[in-house]
């Protein structure tokens, strides 16, 4: 069976005074029906631009320069703008990081939840819309949805707003939900509730989820597959268990080493030195080489491709597997 979503060699560039710089550079990924793909990386690694590229919502001066995004065999990069608009909210929906600003303060919760339904199924009566909206709010476990329907966003808490956002996204019954850091702005306890909710809804509806996050804990809890992104490229791609048990790319190792643990003797965190290179000043070879403790001269010569090092496990590193590199 073909995967629900298949991204091939996607490249999104932004035009700046320094020329065109890539934010997403040759990313290939796929998402199976009903599964969750986690995309992990630091700020500025291109994970949000990747999600906007899938939705074709990259704003000027950015544009998709190459590659394809196939949803059930349909290439989204070549669809007409109106066909694409039709597909947003119905086939693919998205939720955002900041629930405080993701709802329009001048409209009621109900208006916003039913907005997608109104856009995609014109001609419903006010009573039908209301029923659909209340049902959507109930599905995301919002207490007394009948009353919440008529309230304004400022009357709701952050976690409640994120639930409203999810209700909005799911109102069109999408096959794919892109969640861009859905819990980053929330309290830890509320985070867990929202993640639970997402998992329950996924089980109910069978939708696929792309979960974009910088939080490896969220990935461990939610994702089936994980892609680690660095400077616009996927550097490691495997299933969630293997990523934590047997990470192969030095960057992934660095990320895992940066997490404080409660169950071990306290030692210094293995923070990755330096910062992500800006997209207009990328190193010529491997983009991680300048920060990599395992780098050798050859790393600076050519960009390593994402190669399989085991069944279902790819890493873009010429020194992988690392055990071999360490032994040498």
């Amino acid at each position: 069976m073909t995967p629900l979503l298949e991204i091939e060699g996607l490249r999104t560039v932004f035009r700046t005074s320094a020329g065109e710089v890539p934010a997403v550079d040759g990313v290939s990924l796929s998402v199976e029906r009903g599964k969750t793909l986690g995309i992990v990386g630091e700020s500025g690694c291109g994970k949000s631009v990747l999600s906007l590229s899938i939705m074709r919502l990259v704003a000027h001066p950015g544009r998709i320069a190459a590659g394809s995004v196939q949803l059930e065999g349909k290439d989204l990069t070549t669809l007409s703008p109106s066909a694409m608009r039709d597909l947003r909210g119905r086939d693919i929906a998205m939720i955002f990081q900041e629930p405080m600003t993701s709802l329009n303060p001048v409209h009621t919760v109900g208006f916003q939840v039913t907005e997608g339904v109104r856009a995609h199924e014109p001609g419903l009566s006010a009573a039908e819309l209301r029923a659909r909206g209340i049902e959507a709010l109930r599905r995301v476990r919002i207490p007394s949805p009948e009353r919440r329907f008529d309230e304004y966003p400022h009357q709701l808490s952050g976690g409640m707003r994120q639930r409203v956002m999810i209700a909005m996204a799911l109102a069109g019954q999408p096959k794919l939900l892109i969640a861009d850091e859905p819990t980053t702005a929330l309290d830890v306890t509320v985070q867990a509730q929202i993640l639970d909710l997402l998992r329950e809804l996924q089980a109910e509806t069978g939708m696929a989820v792309i979960l974009i996050t910088h939080d490896l804990g969220v990935v461990a809890e939610m994702a089936d597959d994980v892609a680690v992104m660095y400077a616009g490229k996927v550097v490691e791609h495997t299933d969630a268990r293997r990523l934590f048990e047997d990470p192969q790319h030095p960057y992934t190792l660095g990320l895992l080493g940066s997490i404080p643990r409660l169950d071990e003797e306290r030692e210094d965190l293995l923070a990755i030195r330096g910062t992500v290179p800006p997209p207009f000043a990328l190193p010529p070879g491997c983009r991680f080489a300048p920060r990599c403790p395992f780098a050798i001269n050859a790393c600076n010569e050519a960009q390593p491709p994402l190669l399989p090092i085991a069944e279902g496990h790819g890493a873009a590193c010429i020194r992988a597997p690392v055990e071999k590199a360490l032994a040498a």
Binding site: M55, L57, A59, H60, P61, R85, D86, L87, R88, G89, R90, A93, M94, I95, F96, Q97, E98, T101, S102, L103, N104, P105, V106, H107, E115, G116, A119, H120, P143, S144, R147, H154, Q155, M165, M168, A169, A171, G172
Partner: protein, 284 residues
């Protein structure tokens, strides 16, 4: 979660306005001005076009509360009717110019590719003074209210476009615009439902302030003889008609001028008070 805690109600704009003395006074004045203009035919003591050559240039007295002009017409009646013309010209220019300007502003903020071109066009419009537009249009179409309204509309377009673009750009950066796009909304719907309502306060404040300016400009054009033509009662034109008698009967010019002053002042004060009441940066 059985007992929901209600967020405190936001005080209404009206209440915020009334907190301020200037706001209260200007609001009362503006309401009075509008009522007077609306009710002119009922409250006017006599016909504004009726001449009485036995009672010309009379200073204010018991019969003619505000005196009479050079042709013996009642200045009070002419003020009441003139107010209607002046306000109507101002409102018409504000609405035509404002609507076109707002559409341009929204398009510039929404379609970033068109932004540069649209705003340079607005800059070109902005570089011509409104009086010059009035002169040019009066030369083309002949003097009259239509020319004034077109001239003032054109002069309002770039100003409104800049105000709307500015506040729409801020709103465009917020996540709910992205979220609305992500559920597949059309551009027109997004602009109308999400962008416009969030720019309304800026539009209101600017419109109120601009109405005062437009009224002043319209009266100035009429004063210069490019707008309302005699015998039509219009405040600027009335002030112009008293010009020749400035030393023997100053009230003929002074009274309409004071009228213009009060109207412009009222709208300016109301605009300032509205800005204080609506500006989120000042609201805590």
């Amino acid at each position: 979660m059985t007992t929901a805690i209600e967020a405190p109600r936001k005080p209404s704009v009206l209440r915020m306005l009334m907190r301020d003395v200037g706001g209260t006074i200007s609001l009362v004045l503006v309401v009075l001005i509008l009522l007077t203009a609306l009710l002119a035919p009922w409250i006017s003591p006599r016909d504004p076009y009726e001449t009485d050559l036995l009672a010309i240039m009379q200073p204010p007295n018991e019969t003619y509360w505000l005196g009479t002009d050079g042709q013996g017409r009642d200045i009070l009646a002419r003020m009441l009717y003139g107010l209607r013309v002046t306000l109507a010209m101002g409102l018409a220019s504000l609405i035509f110019g404002g609507v076109i300007g707002a559409v341009v502003g929204f398009c510039a903020a929404y379609y970033r590719r068109a932004d540069g071109t649209l705003m340079r066009l607005m800059d070109i419009l902005l570089s011509f003074p409104a009086i010059l537009f009035g002169l040019a249009l009066a030369a083309i179409f002949g003097p009259g209210e239509t020319s004034v309204v077109i001239a003032l509309s054109i002069a309002t377009i770039p100003l409104m476009a800049r105000i709307v673009r500015g506040s729409a750009l801020v709103v465009m950066g917020l996540d709910y615009i992205e979220a609305a796009r992500a559920i597949g909304m059309s551009d027109a719907r997004l602009i109308w439902r999400h962008l416009a309502p969030n720019c309304l306060s800026a539009i209101f404040v600017f419109s109120t302030l601009r109405l005062g300016q437009v009224i002043l400009l319209g009266s100035a054009l009429s004063f210069l003889g490019l707008g309302a033509q005699p015998p039509l009662a219009e405040l600027g034109a009335m002030a112009a008609q008293g010009r020749n008698f400035l030393f023997i009967a100053p009230h003929i010019s002074v009274i309409p001028s004071v009228g213009i002053f009060v109207i412009v002042l009222a709208f300016n004060l109301l605009g300032d008070a509205l800005r204080d009441a609506l500006d989120p940066r000042l609201r805590i």
